[in-house]
Symmetry: D2
């Protein structure tokens, strides 16, 4: 028995009980073995390669999970969404004079493009853009870290979300390239606060630790026209939820964003900790986690699971 939900203008024939479907997909995913766990910092390199989790949180409040869904992991670049939300709220449209909204056509940490564009990052989903956003937060909040943490905890309704201080430290120690990006923006006058403080916020934010269920709940408002389906609270305007989804669609999956749009067709964001979240407007949020990464820095099994699920349920927004 199925019931119809609406997404991308088309009825989704989603079963009442998603669990068997998710279990089937998770099992298939375990035979995907071509990725490599991020090893630029020890704290990430140590994570076991065979962790795998898949969660679907639908707007009716149901949360279906399979695999290691209770295991918190480093969300890394997925945190760029939270930072952006806070910066959009605080700065409004002037934010877009300091960061563009165009796909980059470049690796996530490219410094070449930043030079060409005179210190204006292409979008807030690449490192340079998220560092710029961190500068906005550091400059406009007296305590940018606690503002962000309290927002995230509120979004997923759990005080359990925390920051892994070992990852935070490691990121800072191995963050020379991000420092280069920050100083280059500074040289173009596009960083207002002290560079070291900005980088500290950025590295801290990357070290946020969550599990797939917390991630999915926290971002459900993006699938629900800006409203948190659990609390009923309007997190952002419907327009801003659409705007964030648009950014995720064109720029959320590093230099594989176009391929993800082509093969899956959902707004999504990945992190080098192996997590991926995908937004299905008017249906819910999918989150996946498995540490081994493909050559673009996206979780190999995570990509597989989300593509498989989206194709089986017909979830493309296009």
């Amino acid at each position: 028995m199925t019931h119809d939900v609406i997404s991308g203008g088309q009825p989704i024939h989603a079963p009442d009980n998603l669990k068997p479907l998710l279990e089937d997909i998770l099992q298939q995913a375990m035979s995907v073995n071509d990725g490599k766990v991020a090893d630029y910092i020890p704290a990430l390199a140590e994570v076991k390669a065979d962790y795998c989790a898949l969660t679907v949180a639908t707007l009716d409040g149901n949360v279906t999970s399979v695999g290691d869904t209770n295991k918190p992991f480093s969300i890394q670049s997925i945190s760029k969404i939270y930072g952006l939300m806070l910066a959009m709220e605080r700065l409004g449209d002037p934010l877009w004079e300091r960061v563009q909204m165009e796909p980059s056509g470049q690796p996530f940490n490219s410094i070449v493009q930043l030079e060409w564009e005179k210190g204006i990052p292409r979008n807030p989903m690449i490192n340079a853009g998220a560092i710029l956003v961190s500068d906005v937060l550091v400059s406009h909040y007296s305590a940018s870290k606690s503002a962000l943490l309290s927002m995230v905890r509120g979004l997923c309704g759990s005080e359990a979300v925390c920051v892994d201080s070992r990852v935070h430290e490691s990121e800072r120690e191995h963050g020379a390239r991000n420092a280069a990006l920050a100083y280059l923006m500074k040289s173009f006058g596009n960083i207002e606060s002290d560079v070291e403080e900005v980088l500290d916020h950025y590295f801290w934010q990357c070290a946020l630790t969550m599990n797939t269920e917390q991630l999915a709940s926290s971002l459900a408002f993006l699938a629900n026209r800006g409203q948190c389906p659990r609390s009923g609270k309007q997190i952002t305007s419907h327009r801003d939820a659409q705007r964030i989804n648009a950014l995720l669609s064109t720029s959320g999956m590093y230099d594989q964003s176009g391929q993800f749009a082509f093969t899956v067709g959902l707004p999504a964001k990945s992190g080098v900790g192996g997590g991926i979240i995908a937004i299905v407007p008017d249906y819910g949020v999918i989150s996946a986690w498995s540490p081994p990464l493909n050559s673009f820095g996206n979780s190999a099994r995570g990509m597989f699971m989300i593509r498989e699920l989206a194709n089986r349920l017909g979830l493309s927004v296009y």
Copy 2:
């Protein structure tokens, strides 16, 4: 009185009679005066700057038009969609070994990226990608031009679609940069046929001449899961329609694609003749035309009209 249609998972409160809305938007658009008519060839430079047209073709068969909708114009890069359709049909997945599906983060005619990527264009919506597609057509069809023309005529149900031979000639005479792109791909072994023949097809295709109503009808299948709403014929699979829409979303509006996704949220394609088409899945197609272009090569009034219409009707797919 309004009725609800479904798009992007949300009911569109579209009035039964769109005409007054379109007229209002067209009138506002006429006060947008910051564009510049394309002048790289005389045949385009001579087109009057104050032409303006707006058409909405909904899937129920209604076509609502205001302005100069009967005036045919040079569709230029919008023809890239038709070429791509034919190449996808003929080559299938192997096409994507010769052209990527990633946004370029570069101007539409950049040669730098083509060099970095060793002759593999970033996507079929930039010039290099469309020249590659032209090579596929020239190599796989005995008469690539008539195959394309007959497909387009069939799609819009009109034999009136033709090619402006003066534009075709002019494009060839002023096509040195496109020749450079083609020869660079040839040097990497990614052009199979004779370069001059490939360029001739490409320039010919850019010289297709249509009006906004023909454009909108011809692409209605992209909003209708691959099926032509007029003839009932399945033009492409639903999956391929979604794929083309995905490409248009990430790469259809030159280096303003991200901004278009952010502010409008619809798959779209523009041409330097001043035309723009936007796909609204499960609703219909919007087409706009006005020759003056903004700095990205997109029609300034066309952008205004489509954004205005999408925002008033709430048409974003996100």
Copy 3:
């Protein structure tokens, strides 16, 4: 017994009879085996890898040669010097508005830099610059080929210099990248004549065939303040001879020019046929030939022999 000649401000302790020294160096060179014969066209790929020749032509009229010095080979990019001489003579200073005189910091056939610099090549020693020079010749001479050939024959006092028509044809067939460079310059308005005609001259010039003795004699004027030591004819002004030597010093050895200046210290030019010439002001010309190329496109044994000879005789201009 030695006599002193003067170069770079320092007495050169050159033996009266250079032959034993050259023979020793040639023998050592034969154990250099890390190069690879150019294989982008069959006519070059077929040349035997173990050809090796070394010639020194001093200003007193002595020519000392060892190895395969009577075997003519394709001089390829060394011909860029002859083309430049003719263009400088015909155009004078305005030539330098269309081509710069800066080292490129890029491979010899880079298209990226040409795009950045808006179609103005960095110098006349890279392909784009030599194609630009070919445009000057084609545009300003009724018969650019015979003008060049007759100049070269006059310079080396031999009618035996000719063009290998098979190489000429092959270059044209495999010249897609050079065509891309030419069309890109055309698109920036920096090519005046028909691109195909310009490329034909360029490919023809690259197919000039000479032996090391002819090469050395033809360029002796560059070591002799512009005057041909054989005929006494003033080929260029002293100033122009110094200017050409300066260009060879900063840009003559592809992307290994800096290393050549550092380790050898002489103006020089190489070609992918395996030839290299080096100018020793007020002393003479060294020419070397051996087909296998290093990764920069310079003859591996040729580099070895010239470095060895220069170091043993103390020939650096610095």
Copy 4:
């Protein structure tokens, strides 16, 4: 009355008394008014634009000066020569595994090339290369600053050479781009010491303050086969003096190095404080100073004076 000295293989007809010639050239130079004083830090911006000095130190011990030759100025990038000398001495050939010796074909502070070349700077005369050299000094000397200062004082035989602490501070405050270069090299593993310490040495070294006579004396060994003509001490080997001169010839004048070789033909180095030094092998050293810079960052009047002097005396090494 004149006597002949030898340079570049050609007798230099230099007058016994250079003073009238220098005075004439200085006077002409004062009418060159198209430069702009460096203004990126206040300490440089405040220097009067009409300072002008010209010194020639010949190997016979004569020093001829006109203009503001007793006024010390910030030597800035000319200090790159001193740093390089110390690093070559300490590290020997392995230095060249961490920095190349090729001209850059890019502005002096380009980060693009550093990214392409994976953190290996093109040469020690651009900022990235000099920062790399600073890392070598900081890593291999217990007190890199005093080692450098004592070497420079020894070279010019004057304890008066010092460092302007205000310039040093200002450089650090406005050094974001140099910090970006340093962190980028660090991210590629090409910086061993602490980045802040390396930058501190680099900024300190740029703040060295000397006058044209001190500069000319200190570098006379480069014109004298490595030997200091004053003390008779062998500063470097003849070979290393030639190597440094080769680097100055291909890379010493920023992105105007090729033009300088073409129009002047001497190894040279400039700094944004307005100083330029040029080496004439076996003759002497020319130093010039005038603060206004041309668009390449070279002193406009300094360029004029050295070109004029070299052309009148026929000093090109080519």
